[in-house]
Symmetry: C2
Subunit: 548 residues, 2 copies
């Protein structure tokens, strides 16, 4: 993992080493300056990968040989010898637990150790954490919009940045609140439930009922196999009569594909309805096969739509399923799952909600995994060396001659910090507080003066009912500590509910019809707050004045 | 690699297997329907990964055990036994060479073999090829806009979808025409030249000249080491006098960082100019150190800017370098490389070109690797089984009841095809022609009737001076064939020049000032053309009529 970094870290490492500063105690904080997707929050994720990277951090002999070939020829041999001895055993990493809600400006990862190693970890950790957090956040936004009862499936394998991007997408979508993935390897590696339906190509590979092979299926309860082709055909006549659609418009290849699939998966029959006309072909054919299966004791499980006005069609489909269920006395028929896909975005979910729908399950691919609204989280990793430079971590982020006080957002908050999450009497978090490491922890039940970011000029008073350190130590003395490499699916959504989080931007703050575990549903305009202690604020002010 | 697929391919595979169709000869074509980024072309890439996947295509015992646990319990044991025996030894893959120009609708990968395997490869190949092609295309667009002489460096490691996404970005940016990557691992694995400069954090880790350690540097030609701190300080006075900037505004920490870096890399000294004020600090400090180095026989190599108006500043910097060079009689000073970074996009490159600049090297990260203008290529993979369904590969792409002739773009072109690239007398390609596999190859020098896509109603006549099959066979009988796994950097750009390709969309069709190997510079409005033979067109027409 060690060579997974930008070259300039190695040239700078040599600079530090030559200057004898390579073992200076340093600390780094990883954070983002603005919430992604114009929202206020992100889910911090990628911690497990970060820990794996720390454990494996080492330059092999081959790595060192390669570095010799690319660093300037004036680089001293002893530096390469030193690189070959490096590991992360002197590094301590603390972080928010995987999948936690984090806000802009609050470090969600802290790294302490010798300057050279802390510096070398910058790009690697940014690479491992940024996309993980971005896609987890994106997934959480879909979850918030879809509501707690909707089944959400990630299906972005073919659109991600290669296998690893796709696996990350599956994993962190699950952490962000999705239920399933289509990616078999992600299922195998991470234990995420996998789901799949059927593709247009399968349906189009059949043109007539003669192709169905085998044609027979025994009833669920046992007994003589029945010709399912003939049975489905006879049901098709009845369904078409009920629906008043011409039987000759029901595509025979599609019926053949449905029957063939039903014989292969009698207890898991699903139909993809839109290869041909949904109303006159896909739906009658599906109902005919599902009713034939029912006659043999089996239940179909679902349908999928992949084009057109999905919300409107889902309502029409539900109507037909109800009508069939009532007419043919198959009560479960109306509960058949309706799944949709086709370039689903946040906007689609808003439309489904606005128009009403009968959709039970949504598959999201491209707009989940590529995060087109903001394809990178823009995390930064700020390294400081307290002993060498008391003002470390205050910086101007590149804008030359900027008056530091002009743009609060661009001022990095100084010092090595401890972060606390403050809770109100109802047990809901209401503030993340940054304090200097040497400050005592805030006391519960006592009034505390804080400076809220964005309103730094005036102190506010808060009284936390409970105070929790935001970070835990996950890596120390070369060992991973804590058992939080597990998947935390849906806990994130639970956490989101306890904050009253907005999606931000152009999203209407509409109210959900369901009252549920996701009380965020109400989408109140209460922006969560981030604050710093008076002492930290004092240090910041001093440093800003000193740098004028 | 085999489990890197969507679950529905495995359920459908079972469907085919149950129906005894799993070994039916099938063929698939991989293509995109529209050029990405509103342009007309893409570079086909990812072939090497695709071939690796074919070679390794196998379900391990653990894979099969996992599949048993997720497929419906009614799935027959014999199917899993069959899966355990599968490999890609009966698959033949042909494709355009890695990095070739490809157009919408023209398959750039063809896969033939038993239906079940061909089907199972769909998502895997899409995953491996789509992002590779997208980022190679994106890189080529940057190259076209930047011109042939600009040095382009990929630096997207921290913004990509994890390590693998980042490595793909480095590799395929290089194939698309970039010169360098910042990613050390990509350099090591793929032999891409790596480059790096210096970061703000390094500069900010110094606050005073006392911190410089060691302070001395021997002259290049040998001799007594000289105190470079003192020497740089004395040069700073002279530079500030020449530039008429107050010496006290030159940040001492920055000067210390520059001197320290120069002592570490006397032959490779680079300065990052915008940690503090470029004009009053970064530039005087850099010039002072570079002149001190010059006095000892060394040449500084470059500066970098990471904020502000990059084009304007580059011109001011060049002026200062010229003035110093003239005044202090250091002629090479004016040729010092000016590198820029900071959220560079296609628009930035257009602005640089419009405003004029003195930029020599550009680092591109986020906008290269995340492809925000279009974060996925949207490739499709169409499988057909000729024996089962003569109309295979004609499809409606999901829009139900669509009249097939309404939207030419959505009609997939039928049949197993051979693609030819036609060249004019000047040796420039002017058309990609799709023919049925059984048709004879077009003859050179003979008039040929073709149907150009988008103008199918009328035949056009063309006379190719040379005809080349577009595809080569890269995999057959379980073996990779052909030696085209090598990197093809810049060949792609050369190929782009032979076509007269537009970037499309909102890009102005301005003319480059340079006449060079990249004659595409002229950016003529000649959209490359894609056509089909009369026989293929006849088949398409027949099938469209039959499906009415």
């Amino acid at each position: 993992m060690a060579p997974l970094t930008d070259l300039y870290h190695l040239t700078m490492a040599y600079g530090h080493w030559r200057a004898g500063r390579h073992r200076a105690p340093a600390a780094a904080e990883l954070f983002f300056r603005r919430g992604p997707f114009r929202g206020s929050f992100a889910l911090g994720a990628g911690l497990a990968e970060g820990l794996r990277c720390l454990r494996a951090f080492r330059f092999s002999a081959a790595d060192v040989a390669y570095l010799r070939s690319v660093l300037p020829s004036t680089t001293e041999d002893a530096f390469f010898d030193y690189l070959a001895t490096l590991d992360a055993s002197e590094v301590t990493l603390s972080a928010v637990p995987e999948g936690s809600v984090v806000f802009a400006r609050v470090p969600f990862l802290q790294v302490k150790g010798p300057l050279l190693v802390v510096q070398l970890l910058e790009t690697t950790l940014l690479c491992l954490v940024s996309y993980a957090s971005l896609v987890a956040t994106n997934a959480a936004r879909f979850r918030l919009l879809a509501g707690p009862d909707m089944k959400l499936m990630e299906m972005g394998l073919r659109r991600a940045q290669g296998p690893d991007g796709a696996l990350s997408a599956s994993k962190y979508s699950y952490i962000g609140g999705f239920d399933y993935t289509s990616n078999v390897l992600a299922g195998k590696l991470y234990g995420i439930p996998v789901r799949g339906t059927i593709a247009h190509s399968f349906i189009m590979s059949f043109t007539s009922l003669e192709e169905v092979q085998p044609r027979e299926l025994p009833p669920l309860a046992g007994g003589e196999p029945v010709d399912l082709v003939a049975l489905a055909e006879s049901w098709l006549g009845q369904v078409c009569e009920l629906l008043q659609t011409p039987p000759e418009k029901a595509n025979r290849g599609e019926l053949a594909a449905f029957v063939s699939y039903a014989i292969a998966f009698p207890q898991d029959f699903q139909g993809l309805l839109d290869t041909y006309c949904v109303r006159r072909s896909g739906l009658p054919n599906f109902c005919a096969v599902a009713l034939a299966l029912h006659q043999l004791g089996y239940r179909a499980i679902g349908v999928r739509l992949d084009s057109g006005d999905l919300a409107q069609q889902s309502k029409e489909i539900r109507q037909v399923l109800r009508a069939c269920g009532a007419h043919f006395q198959v009560p479960w028929f109306e509960t058949i799952l309706i799944a949709v896909s086709n370039d689903i975005s946040e906007q689609s979910l808003e439309e489904f909600s606005r128009e009403g729908s009968e959709i039970d399950m949504i598959g999201v691919g491209t707009n989940l995994v590529t995060c087109p609204l903001q394809p990178s989280l823009g995390c930064v990793y700020k390294v400081g060396v307290a002993a060498l430079c008391p003002a470390w971590l205050v910086e101007v982020n590149g804008s030359p001659c900027l008056k530091l006080t002009e743009d609060e957002e661009k001022v990095t908050i100084p010092g090595t910090k401890t972060m606390y999450r403050l809770y109100d009497a109802a047990g809901h978090p209401f503030m993340d507080l940054m304090a200097l490491e040497e400050e005592p922890s805030p006391s519960t039940g006592q009034e505390l003066a804080v400076r809220v970011l964005g309103q730094l000029r005036e102190a506010s008073k808060v009284v936390p009912t409970a105070v929790e350190p935001l970070h835990r130590t996950y890596f120390r003395d070369g060992q991973v500590r804590g058992a939080t490499l597990r998947m935390v699916a849906l806990e994130s959504s639970l956490e989101l509910t306890r904050w009253g989080l907005r999606l931000g931007g152009q999203h209407p703050t509409w109210t959900w019809s369901c009252i549920s575990i996701l009380q965020v549903c109400e989408l109140l305009p209460s922006l969560p707050e981030v604050a710093m202690t008076e002492r930290l604020h004092h240090l910041l002010t001093e440093l800003l004045q000193a740098s004028q």
